[in-house]
Amino acid sequence: MNPIKTFLKGGVHPEENKFSADQPIQDFPMPKQIIVPLGQCLGAPADCIVKKGDRVLTGQLIGTAKGFVSANVHSPATGTVAKVDVVMDHTGYYKPAVFIDREEQDEWAPGILVTDELITDIKLDGKQIIEKVKECGIVGMGGATFPTHIKMAVPEGKKAEYVIINAAECEPYLTCDYRLLLEKTQEFLVGVKIVMKGVGTDKGVIGIETNKMPAIELLDKTIKEHPDLYSGIEVQPLKTKYPQGGEKQIIKAITGREVPSGKLPIETGCVVVNVASTYAIYEAVQKNKPLIERIVTVTGKSVKKPSNFRCRFGVPADLLIEAAGGLPEDITDVINGGPMMGKSVSVTSFPTIKGTSGILLMTLHEAQSRRQTNCIRCGRCAKACPMGLQPFLLHKVAKLNDFDETEKNHVMDCIECGSCEFTCPANIPLLDYIRYGKAKTGAIIKARSQK
């Protein structure tokens, strides 16, 4: 095992609470109707190319990417389009979605290889791989849902030196990536090779926090057993510290390089891809299977059966919660994602999408906002900030609407990890104000550059 590495600046260590870590992935039975949102990625929602009454096959394209930052959407089931309407999704807004009345049997769209067999031989070349990733609508499945093909397309003049697979899973509670690593180890490793080939490098590093030792050992063992297949892939244990899985933090931890402020990770010669996305890339490239399902962790302190489900997109979250033992009575907050960066939702009927890594049910005791008191200038927020910012200061100037100051103090570098607010002894909603300041400052910068 390689020596443990970590990022140095800031960070916190919330309770890990990985209750579902030992629960094998279960296939989730599909309901009668599914609701597939067209906006499942960061950026523009896809254009709908089906209409009411159309029969769609599993894996058939139903929405095409619109604009540069956007991703295709495919039908997760076979059935008839009941309507194209709006649905309240995880953001709390009504967004366009395709409602599909399902047929019992899956009929796969032509060209998709339906098999569980491991295919290790990579036939496509680099360009074709990226094209396939784009076609199959693959996005960053850690939660940010940034289209993966844009990340993998190395700009001219730059060179990718490392592929870093982000298997840190530093969010408390979530175990979907961990289970995938344990149960689809070989497929995942082939996926890593595909990404390496796609971006044109022979170095791949899988960064995993040490609270997932079984996965580290299994990956190490598998790589050693098949040196011919998985050459160039290394497993790098990382210290269990939040936000180890932040893109900039994991690059710093593994390579020691810092992504320059305002620049993309490729500046450091790194392409960072999430575990679930890597597995999706394997399925896309080797089996031509578009992204229509993912592993979702349903968990919480009072949840009866914390579980990991393999779930097609469009399944309403309340069905998943039901399958995990039902909604406990003391729940006040429902989170799409993990507790540090996930978004709270007001209803449990939102459909699962590409970015739904977890559905977290939180009790009042755990999630309540506590009474805010005066800032005692302890500086813990600044100490916890992995980006070296001064959250107390950004909070203050954002509150005063002084966006010159927010910009001067690098508000745009904030990664919104929430470490500052987590650690604040005065319970000040630091990140809320910083997000506000970031949005306003971003708009000002954009307007200025357009002049």
Partner: protein
């Protein structure tokens, strides 16, 4: 359809709060309080109780009738101010002076600026310095310690100066050297000039909370382990004092006492670990803390060796408190991915 709470991330909290932090500092001061009671008995306990009660009551009255804001007395900060203030007075101080000090500490030192977190100066030190300049005689009359269960030799003196005061007065005489003063007041003399070991166990005159270095250090280690304070400010203060007084001592050992005495004499340990580390009034970054500590160290030594007062820790901390906003401005954390343009 139930509607769940919508809030921005993060959705979990470390559950740390101001009260917990203050409580830990108070716990850390308990060993020193016990030692004070051992040496000074009821007097120390009485002044501590009066001081805490005054501070809490003053804060309550001001919040209730002047500021009309939410009551904050249960956050523990007033209790801590009261405790620290009491630690900084001689055990023989009249009760009414303690009450005046408490009112000044809370009223002028803290509430006048808007309460906890807004005060530029350490409230307990504001109270202490106010008392020192208002009641100079009472604030510098040090009752000799009378252990409840005496171990070893006991001095007969009822009151006596602190070692630092003794030294300062003594050196004014013609031909006096550190050695002659130590001999005159040492074990063969009136017993007020105490060997190093007795010094760190607290058997000497002084403000009743500052006398026992060991008890204070136990508390300080607890605070560092629970991450309430970090080592940088105290380390910087102690190192600066040690090096500065060390240089003086090397230059002229007849006029200057050895540096290790300076570390345990007076309020240096109490000031370095419990007053200068006050979060509200000290810098935030490590580099800022080092500079802050350096400043306190230098000012303390200058006052001790050449100033009018034998002791200068309180003044040094208050002066550096005033520089805290500037230090915070000058020493910001390094932002990730930002390279400072190199100076040409």
């Amino acid at each position: 359809m139930t509607n769940y709470t919508i809030s921005g991330s993060p959705h979990v909290h470390s559950t740390e709060n101001t009260k917990k932090i203050m409580t830990r500092v108070i716990i850390a001061l308990v060993p020193a309080l016990l030692v004070a009671i051992y040496y000074f008995g009821w007097d120390a306990l009485k002044l501590t109780i009066v001081s805490i009660a005054t501070c809490v009551l003053a804060e309550w009255l001001i919040q209730k009738f002047l500021i009309k804001g939410p009551l904050t007395i249960n956050d523990g900060s007033a209790v801590l101010t009261g405790l620290l203030l009491a630690f900084n007075v001689p055990a023989g101080l009249p009760v009414w002076m303690m009450i005046v000090g408490g009112i000044v500490a809370i009223g002028i030192g803290k509430m006048a600026f808007g309460g906890l977190g807004k005060n530029p100066f350490n409230p307990a030190l504001v109270g202490r310095v106010f008392m020192l300049v208002s009641f100079p005689s009472a604030m510098t009359t040090w009752p000799a310690p009378k252990p409840l269960f005496p171990i070893g030799h006991v001095a007969d003196a009822i009151t006596g100066p602190t070692p630092l005061g003794l030294l300062k007065e003594g050196l004014k005489a013609d031909g006096a050297t550190v050695e002659s003063i130590m001999k005159m007041h040492g074990e063969n003399g009136d017993g007020t000039f105490i060997p190093f070991l007795d010094q760190i166990f607290g058997y000497h005159g002084g403000s009743f909370g500052e006398i026992c270095a060991i008890a204070l250090l136990i508390g300080a280690i607890y605070l560092i382990c629970t991450k309430v304070i970090d080592i940088w400010t105290p380390l910087s203060i102690l190192l600066t004092v040690f090096v500065f007084t060390g240089i003086c001592w090397l230059v002229d050992p007849t006029r200057f006492i050895a540096p290790w005495y300076h570390l345990v004499y007076g309020g240096l340990i109490l000031g370095a670990f419990f007053m200068a580390t006050d979060m509200v009034t000290s810098p935030m970054t490590t580099r800022g803390k080092l500079l802050f500590g350096f400043g306190i160290g230098v000012i303390t030594v200058v006052i001790r060796l050449w100033g009018a007062y034998p002791e200068g820790v309180s003044f040094a901390i208050l002066i550096m408190n005033a520089f805290t906003p500037l230090i915070n401005k000058a020493f910001k954390p390094k932002v990730f991915g930002v390279v400072k343009p190199s100076k040409k």
